[in-house]
Amino acid sequence: MIVNISINGQTYSHDVEPRLLLVHFIREYAELHGTHWGCDTSNCGICIVLMDDPNSSQPPYPVKSCTMLAAMAEGYEITTVEGMAHPDGTLDPIQMGFHEMHALQCGFCTPGMMSTGRWLIERHPNPTQMTDHEIRDGISGNLCRCTGYDNIIKAIRWAAAYIQEHPESARTARQ
């Protein structure tokens, strides 16, 4: 079947099997390798991308791209790690925060983790005041084997503070 999916502002049209998972559409057809995968059972959150859902009052929210058929993603705007930075290459604050706070080691979970972190900031009424528990709970669907999470929490806080100070730095798929 022909599937048309908008990823990072570009529409990809491909003739695919109906069973094709979104993560494989992103990696094999759109050839965006920044979205990784880590399990078979929808537990690890490695494959998370942001999805802008017109039916939702939420800002673009994280979904596990291994747990959606590509066909299901038609009509939504998908943002992967490759689409996080501004078009001129300026990094999104969450990317800066992960670098500043040493919130990545092997880098494999990083795209999914940054996506969830970005959403946590975007949806929180007062992101600089997020509690440790709110952040820990928020990323509890994203497994990381390297960092021990402490620096990821610091990175999300760093990004929240940066966005507060530099509102123009924040860019979401919806804008």
């Binding site: 990696r27 990784h36 690890c44 290459g89 992960f98 080691q105 509890s140 021990g148 999470y149 402490d150």
Partner: protein, 811 residues
């Protein structure tokens, strides 16, 4: 067919990202050691890492493995016709096809043999049986369901004690002369007679059987390979994220009988290793065989179930132990252990150390006598025995000794910290030879322990525990003090498959004064591209921003044994320091010419040679580099260019240590353990980059929480692996960690024999934290209910059983 240069050519691109834009150059980079953000982040935060599954070659086909549904069964027949009829299937490989290629069995890194694909019988649940090659990955999986295998099911053994029963079914009937399930001769260390005497004179003896259960390193990226055999040139390019690319190349040359110079291993980015990516796995050999058969590059990427069920597990040590004291101090330890190797002995060890560095079981204590012995058995479980973030069985040994110290303290009715303080090796005793014959390099254990107690507020915690007991609440405080031996190792003692455990480094300083250092270590997230540049920076005074660290391509890096056992900094880091000093010495010759003086009259300060007594007269490393390539009047014996090679042979292991304190609350109604606080004081000698060191510690601590509380690979009575997915193999999330973060402290006792005084740190937190947490859980049970031991992992149900006096080892 791919050419050799296209894909490897991606390496420079990475560094293009790292150096060509906002983040590539780290603005406040120190010239040398100190806090520095990572250079490699630039590509990862943009999604530009290049992992195993990202490799794509023209004409590439996809492999998938059919696995056994039984733990032990004879194979009567395999019918592949259904799969071969699938329109997208290119080939199906089974054992007898491999026999014609001489690839049916492969050597393990412990001199055993392992079936690549099972031909005679399957020996563990989910063992490899057939390899399908199809045009796409989905079709390869579809075709697995079209293969028919006829099995005769045999009784399976998954209990290491039962494997030793005289009437136990023989698992390795393929091995000539094998009549029982013993995997190797009994190994022992320490003087038994002295140890027996120490026990005979003891005041108090504690005894306990302790299981360090089977767990899995489980990096977030699974294992995989793209094998690309060029039939026209005989060149085999192997894209494979592994921790020891040079050793792998040698192994493939042996296994496949290919000329070693025609094999090139390309490790791009690796999504975590933790020991899992040390061995050679059957899937790799299948991919290589598949590429030979199919005449095309073959990609095989294992799924998570395959990763958990078939690749290198860790631990699985059942240990009976006794520890004794005299005069209020620990004096002796004896251990009798069974190592469960699974169906094939592919444990990762230095050759002369069949039980790894289990000798370190004497821990951080000044013992009068110690003896340990280990026998290894075959069972119908997956092979492996890799060191999950651990230097060759040190985790098992440290877990045992630290659990035993707590048990002994309970028997002696003394505080567990007090007993440790009385029994530690004193700072003035280093270098210290242990009762099992190891020479610890340096340490100040009392200082580290005191610092940890101070951060924790140990006395206040004990008071709080008493108050809570009055209210019927259960709280535990667990202490562990570890000493690790890492950085294997001295070539006179240590090799793997005959390859000395050394590492090489090559340093080229270009005419512009920028440098490339090539290393044999292989990062899996440790940050080598930053920290190794910092070592060169410290030695030569060149900014780390201007030093590229090259690794992961066996054609372009010097030989060495790779990254595991916390050996990167102790061995490869030593090589980088040594090669930098060689370059510095060579630079001195050029500087003498430039400054028209004698080399011996020059003095070094970071970044330049100057004339002793006349500091204005000097040459910077940049100007020397330019001169080295352009000077026209070099004297005889001095070659142009500024580069050098080194192979570092460490004179001894390094011995990092640390004091850890865990605080837990246990729900008396449900047995649920809540990890409240964790204090970690680490002494890893000189820290190259404190930020990276702390990141390593955080990560290792969470893996320790996992092992202590939730990670286990277990089997049912039929031998089925019960934890072959993330539904049941549980990695800690952010919610299982102390809510306000880890509390770290440091002491610095430099390693006296290492060129930069560093000891290595990667594994320390994962070695020290399981016993600290286990001790905390038991401490809660002990104070509330008088219970002195339970085996990990401390699942709620198991804690509740222990609380009620029904502690059992996990199945």
């Amino acid at each position: 067919m791919a050419t050799t240069e296209t894909t490897p050519g991606r390496h420079p691109d990475w560094y293009g990202h790292a150096t060509g834009d906002t983040f590539g150059k780290i603005a406040d980079a120190p010239i040398g050691f100190g806090h520095m953000k990572r250079k490699e982040d630039a590509r990862f935060i943009r999604g530009l890492g290049d992992y195993m599954d990202d490799v794509r070659l023209p004409g590439m086909v996809h492999g998938a493995i059919l696995r056994s549904p039984y733990a032990h069964a004879r194979i009567n027949s395999i019918d592949t016709s259904g799969a071969l009829a699938h329109p997208k299937v290119a080939a199906v490989v089974i054992a007898k096809d491999l026999e014609t290629l001489g690839l049916a069995w492969m050597p393990t890194i412990s001199y055993d043999t392992q079936a690549v694909l099972a031909g005679d019988k399957v020996r563990f649940h989910l063992q490899e049986v057939a390899f399908v090659i199809a045009l796409d990955a989905y079709s390869a999986q579809d075709a697995l369901q079209l293969i028919e295998v006829d099995y005769d099911v045999l009784p399976a053994i998954v209990n290491c004690r039962k494997a030793l029963d005289p009437d136990a079914p023989l698992i390795r009937d393929d091995k000539v002369g094998q009549t029982d399930n013993l995997a190797s001769p009994m190994w022992e260390a320490g003087d038994k007679a002295i140890c027996d005497r120490v026990f005979a004179e003891a005041d108090v003896v504690a005894k306990q059987t302790i299981l360090d259960p089977r767990s899995h390193p489980c990096p977030m990226e699974t294992c995989g390979m793209v094998a690309d055999m060029n039939p026209n040139t005989g060149q085999l390019n192997i894209y494979n994220g592994n921790q020891a690319p040079h050793a792998h190349r040698t192994v493939y040359a042996q296994v496949a009988g290919l000329p070693e110079q025609n094999i090139r291993i390309l490790c791009n980015d690796i999504g975590g290793g933790f020991g899992n990516k040390v061995p050679v796995y059957p899937g790799y050999v299948c991919a290589i065989a598949g590429s030979i058969v199919a005449g095309a590059p073959v990609k095989w990427i294992e799924d998570r179930s395959e990763n958990l069920a078939s690749t290198g597990f860790a631990r699985d040590y059942l240990m009976y132990s006794e520890m004794c004291s005299k005069g209020g101090k620990i004096t002796g330890l004896r251990v009798d252990a069974i190592a469960d190797h699974g169906a094939f002995d592919s444990t990762a060890q230095a050759t002369k150390f069949p039980a790894g560095f289990f000798h370190i079981v004497t821990g951080s204590y000044d013992l009068s006598g110690a003896h340990c012995q280990v026998k290894a058995v075959y069972t119908n479980k997956a092979p492996g025995g890799v060191a999950y973030r651990c230097s060759f069985r040190i985790t098992e040994a440290v877990y045992l000794v630290e659990r035993m110290v707590d048990q002994l303290a309970m028997e002696m009715r003394v505080d567990p910290v007090e007993l440790r303080m009385r029994s530690f090796i004193r700072a003035d005793q280093f270098p210290y030879e242990t009762a099992t014959g190891w020479v610890y390099d340096s340490g100040d254990y009392h200082k580290a322990m005191k610092l940890a107690m101070e951060i924790a507020g140990y006395d206040e915690l004990r008071a709080e525990q008493q108050e809570k007991l009055q209210r019927g609440e259960m709280m535990g405080i667990g202490v562990a003090f570890f000493t690790e031996g890492v950085g294997a190792g001295p070539r006179r003692h240590m090799d793997i498959l005959g390859l000395a455990m050394n590492d090489g480094a090559e340093l080229r300083v270009h005419p512009s004064g920028k440098a490339v250092v090539s290393i044999s270590a292989q990062t899996q997230g440790q940050g080598h591209e930053t920290t190794f540049a910092q070592i060169v920076a410290e030695e030569l005074g060149i900014s780390p921003n201007e030093i590229m660290v090259r690794h992961g391509d066996t054609d372009k890096t010097p030989y060495g044994l790779g990254t595991y056992g916390s050996r990167s900094t102790p061995v490869s880091g030593g090589a980088v320091a040594v090669v930098s000093r060689k370059v510095r010495d060579k630079a001195r010759q050029f500087a003498a010419l430039m400054l028209e003086t004698r080399a011996e009259d020059l003095q070094w300060e970071k970044g330049r040679w100057f004339v002793r007594g006349d500091p204005e007269r000097g040459s910077t490393i940049e100007s020397i580099a330019e001169y080295a390539y352009s000077a026209t009047n070099l004297p005889e014996g001095l070659e142009g260019g500024l580069d050098a090679n080194a192979v570092y042979d460490p004179p001894n292991l390094t011995y990092p240590f640390g004091a850890y304190i865990a605080v837990v609350d246990v729900d008396p109604g449900t047995g649920k353990v809540h990890m409240r606080r964790f204090i970690a004081v680490d002494d890893c000698g000189v820290r190259i980059n404190p930020m990276v060191v702390e990141g390593q510690i955080h990560g290792g601590l969470v893996e320790g929480i996992g092992q202590a509380l939730m990670e286990i690979i277990s089997f049912d009575e039929q031998g089925n692996c019960m934890n072959a997915s993330f539904m049941d193999y549980l990695l800690p999330t952010a919610l299982e960690c102390p809510i306000n973060g880890f509390e770290l402290g440091e002491t610095v006792t430099p390693c006296p024999h290492h060129p930069i005084g560093a000891k290595g740190v990667g594994e320390s937190p994962c070695v020290g934290s399981p016993p600290a947490i286990a001790n905390a859980v038991v401490d809660a049970l002990y104070h509330a209910k008088g219970i002195k031991h339970m085996d990990i992992p401390a699942f709620p149900a198991r804690v509740w059983a222990a609380m009620n006096g029904r502690a059992e080892p996990p199945q």
